[in-house]
């Protein structure tokens, strides 16, 4: 059986599943409960200066029947007395000496940093995470994402921390920036031990249609929140990739955060270079018990692939993430519909006809659609909207012998200069005449009905 234990920049943990600094890590009670449930580490809810929180605090984006596809909060750092947090931290680290109990910190002046680092080290914290990410509230006071968005300030503070700290330091980055490598590089130049990302994305999750106030509503007003949950995972994966591929950053351990809920998410983050992962929203939704599914799934994946530790496959997807200009223009995919599985919802048909390449046609009898091969550009849309498992598959139809990229064409001064270039991919595709779009002119069934 695979060994899930990790050594993350000197912070050891029985497994890579950590709780992110957030409401689930607000107290020693919660963290002990999480460790008892199987979590390998926890980043304590950010400690700093006394503050006041508002009511209400959270909002969500639902999708269909699924709650919290995205989640937003306007909660600030811990509003519990620092001494209570430190006393509980002492108890947790004593009771769980082999778990990664990490203190998230956010203060203002160098003196404050020095002071609080000393206190959490005394409380037995195994590491420090610098909260340069919160995009609400604290950033208005020059902290949180205000630092994460300013690589110069970030670098200065990380240098203060590195001078003061005797335990490993993780710099947590904000995604609210054009190039994540800017703050990433600043952190590395300041000699951070590790990086974690992403913190939450600036957001407004919705508006109350009666009061016209954004969610979460506080006495008729609202503010931008920090967005997280499954909806932000693609953003997180991309930023993780940017850091893990960067020549000057890639040696620095990265803790991946952003919408992680299942073992598949965990594996994806590791494949793009993360060596620990942090979870918040999934726990806020389902409780600490979800770690069971992650752990069992990760074990099975590693056993199936023959990996002994997570380092055996860390970053394995990175070589395959490249720039568009390096993609093979000769690779050719076509959609294939399994007629036995097709239920005839024709969602693929209308998606393709209205929103893609008019490459699916309906039969005159029955409802099973078919692919118009010459028009299918292999875009995947039909297979993505199809509600039936493995019904529409994308099949590669070229033999793989040809390989041409835009970069190669550019270097050879052979980029196409006509619209009809064989290599351009659009040749042979037909587009119906505009007038055929009108309901009474259409050739499909609804058109036929409109004519009656």
């Amino acid at each position: 059986m695979a060994d899930l234990s990790i050594n993350f920049a000197g912070i050891k943990a029985p497994n890579p599943f950590w709780l992110a600094s957030a409401p689930p890590t607000n107290s020693g009670y919660q963290i002990m409960k999480a460790y008892d449930a199987g979590w390998g580490g926890a980043v304590w809810k950010t400690l700093g200066m006394p503050t006041i929180n508002v009511s209400s605090r959270y909002g969500a984006t639902n999708y269909g029947s699924r709650r919290m596809a995205g989640f937003s909060n306007i909660e600030l750092i811990s509003d519990r007395p620092l001494e209570d947090n430190l006393r509980e931290m002492r108890e947790v680290t004593k009771r769980f000496p082999n778990h990664a109990t990490i203190a998230s910190l956010m203060v203002d002046t160098q003196a404050e940093w020095n002071d609080i680092i000393k206190q959490v080290e005394d409380a037995g914290a195994k590491g420090i995470e610098l909260n340069f990410g919160c995009p609400h509230g604290m950033c208005e006071r020059g902290m949180g994402s205000a630092v994460g968005q300013d690589p110069v300030a970030l670098k200065a503070i990380v240098e203060w921390v590195m001078d003061a700290a005797n335990i490993p330091v993780i710099t947590k980055l904000s995604p609210n920036i054009s190039h994540i490598t800017d703050p990433g590089l600043a952190a590395v130049e300041a000699k951070t031990d590790a990086i974690s990302l992403i913190n939450t994305v600036k957001s407004i999750v919705g508006i109350d249609l009666d009061t016209y106030a954004p969610y979460p509503v506080v006495d008729g007003k609202g503010t931008n929140g920090g967005y997280c949950g499954p909806a932000v995972k693609p953003i997180a994966l991309h930023m993780l990739k940017d850091l893990a591929q960067h020549q000057l950053i890639k040696g620095t351990p990265i803790s991946g955060i952003g919408g992680i809920e299942t073992w598949r998410d965990v594996v994806e983050f590791i494949l793009l270079g993360a060596t620990s992962i942090q979870v918040c929203t999934a726990v806020m939704h389902y409780g600490f018990g979800i770690v069971r599914e992650m752990e069992e799934g990760l074990h099975k994946f590693m056993d199936d692939k023959g990996y002994k530790t997570i380092y055996d496959f860390t970053g394995k997807a990175l070589p395959n993430v490249t720039e568009w200009k390096h993609l093979n223009l000769k690779s050719d995919m076509k959609a294939k519909i399994n007629e036995d599985k097709c239920i005839g919802c024709d969602v693929c048909y209308i998606a393709c006809d209205d929103a893609a390449h008019q490459a699916i046609k309906l039969p005159t009898e029955g409802r099973i659609p078919s692919i118009i091969e010459e028009n299918c550009v292999g875009c995947n849309l039909c297979s993505l909207v199809c509600p039936v498992e493995n019904c529409i598959t994308m099949e590669r139809v070229d033999d793989g012998s040809e390989h041409v990229t835009w970069d190669e064409l550019t270097l050879a001064d052979k980029i196409p200069d006509t619209w009809n270039d064989d290599r351009a991919g659009g040749k042979g595709h037909f587009v119906p005449e505009p007038m055929e779009a009108m309901a009474n002119k259409r050739k499909d069934r609804s058109g036929e009905r409109n004519k009656q």
Binding site: G64, S65, K341, I343, G344, V347, Y349, V388, R445
Partner: protein, 441 residues
């Protein structure tokens, strides 16, 4: 073996006749509506005789626009709430749901429909308004699904509408002829009140139109007439013993059941003769009223029955025993029913023949005849130039429901010989537009 105890009060009656499709709560409707795939040119919509835009109203429920959903439903079908409950959805919209093709449970379309319509009925949401008065008047004969739908549609088009109804309640079959576990009287009448109060047509109850003089008066007072008379009483079997005490017609039995509930008397042993949906309702109803043994006798095989499978299964689930290939010869008894004498039948090359010497008697104290309803041929004869087909159905133009007497339009059972409420709803609406087209020419 009886599955149900004899109900002695309204509460026990309601327990035995529990609604088959109860109203969904908000959470059920939310999750169920989330499952809709929003099919292109959706098969459910095509399967609906009234063509309700089902994917649209389901999406509207899912987005919290229940009133919009109800509007979508009523735009296509004035009997929206009744149809959601009583339509044979398993063979219509839900039967056409594409989920069936992967053995995934189809959307509960009927119940979602009710969820939307019931909410606007209960809240008496203002949904409809009569059109600007166009100075023309239409008479409607029969306040059944077809007549009501025709009236609603005509009111939106600005016509003054008077309905002549033989009975004391509107909605015809819906309130009189359908088993109580499919819909309650309160629910039917609430929708009727909802529509009438917003659209303002008049109904003259207990007013049978049975003479040429009445029709002539109507013709002279109205610009057009819609015939929505439905079917008549249970047809005669012309069999010995038919007049014995304890022999009743299924239509009459169900009507009594709908009106009197637990006060309807039932025998210990009941034989129901027939193989249609009304027979199933009568058999199920007998069992739920607490009869010890209910025999459903049909002269052909089970597969030949006109009833939907789910209706038969429902009856069997209520404790009804099916007796097939048994043709009734006579009802035996002395003043009162004592049994039904049958002869066994067999079908050879589709031709039914009796098996000599196979007679047997099923003892019972009550016989319910569910062998079809009388046609309204004598009424149709009162109307000049009205052509009917060889099944006593009024001939109409399929696009307008205009009869061969241009002043008369018709719909529902009068033109189809007996079908679902939803068919009547469609016919009435179509006829209203046919009338409008004809009168505005």
């Amino acid at each position: 073996m009886a599955e149900y105890k004899r109900p002695v009060n309204e509460q026990e009656f309601n327990e035995n006749f529990k609604q088959k499709k109860p109203l969904m709560n908000d959470t059920q409707a939310f999750y169920e509506s989330s499952r809709c795939l929003f099919c292109y040119d959706a098969p459910c919509m095509e399967a609906c005789p009234t063509g309700i835009d089902i994917p649209l109203f389901i999406k509207q429920i899912n987005t919290g626009n229940t009133e919009g959903a109800a509007k979508t439903i009523y735009d296509a079908n004035w009997m929206g709430n009744a149809c959601g409950t009583i339509c044979p959805t398993g063979v219509l919209c839900e039967g056409a749901c594409v989920y069936n093709n992967q053995d995934v449970a189809p959307l509960l379309i009927g119940r979602l429909q009710n969820f939307a319509t019931k909410s606007v009925i209960d809240a008496n949401t203002k949904m409809f308004a009569a059109g600007e008065d166009n100075g023309k008047k239409v008479a409607i004969i029969g306040a059944g699904p077809a007549g009501i739908s025709c009236a609603c549609e005509l009111r939106t088009l600005g016509y003054e509408v008077d309905i002549f109804e033989a009975k004391a309640n509107p909605s015809g079959l819906t309130v009189h002829g359908i088993a109580p576990y499919k819909i309650s009287n309160e629910e039917v009448l609430a929708e009727m009140k909802f529509l009438q109060s917003q659209l303002g047509y008049n109904i003259k109850y207990n007013t049978s139109i049975t003479s040429k003089e009445q029709l002539q008066e109507i013709e002279s007072n109205y610009d057009a007439v819609f015939i929505g008379v439905g079917l008549g009483a249970t047809a005669k079997l012309n069999m010995t013993g038919e007049n014995l005490e304890g022999v009743v017609g299924a239509v009459e039995f169900i009507e009594e059941l709908r009106m009197k509930h637990a006060d309807v008397s039932i025998a210990k042993n009941v034989v129901v003769i027939g193989g249609g949906n009304t027979a199933m309702d009568a058999a199920s109803g007998s069992a739920r009223l607490g009869a010890d043994a209910v025999t459903l006798a049909y002269r052909r095989s089970k597969e030949d029955m006109g009833a939907y499978d789910f209706e038969y299964n429902l009856a069997v689930g209520a404790g009804v025993n099916g007796l097939f290939n048994a043709s009734p010869l006579e009802i035996v008894g002395n003043g009162k029913v004592e049994g039904v004498k049958f002869i066994k039948t067999e079908s050879i090359n589709g031709k039914l023949s009796t098996i000599e010497g196979s007679e047997f008697t099923v003892p019972c104290e009550m016989v319910i005849k569910a062998t079809g309803q009388a046609k309204q041929g004598s009424f149709f004869e009162l109307i000049d130039g009205l052509e009917i087909d060889n099944k006593t159905r009024v001939k109409v133009n399929k696009n307008t429901n205009q009869t061969t007497n241009p002043k008369y339009f018709a719909g529902g059972d009068a033109i189809n010989g007996g079908a679902e409420v939803v068919n009547g709803a469609y016919d009435g609406k179509l006829a209203a537009n046919g009338i409008h087209e004809w009168l505005m020419k």
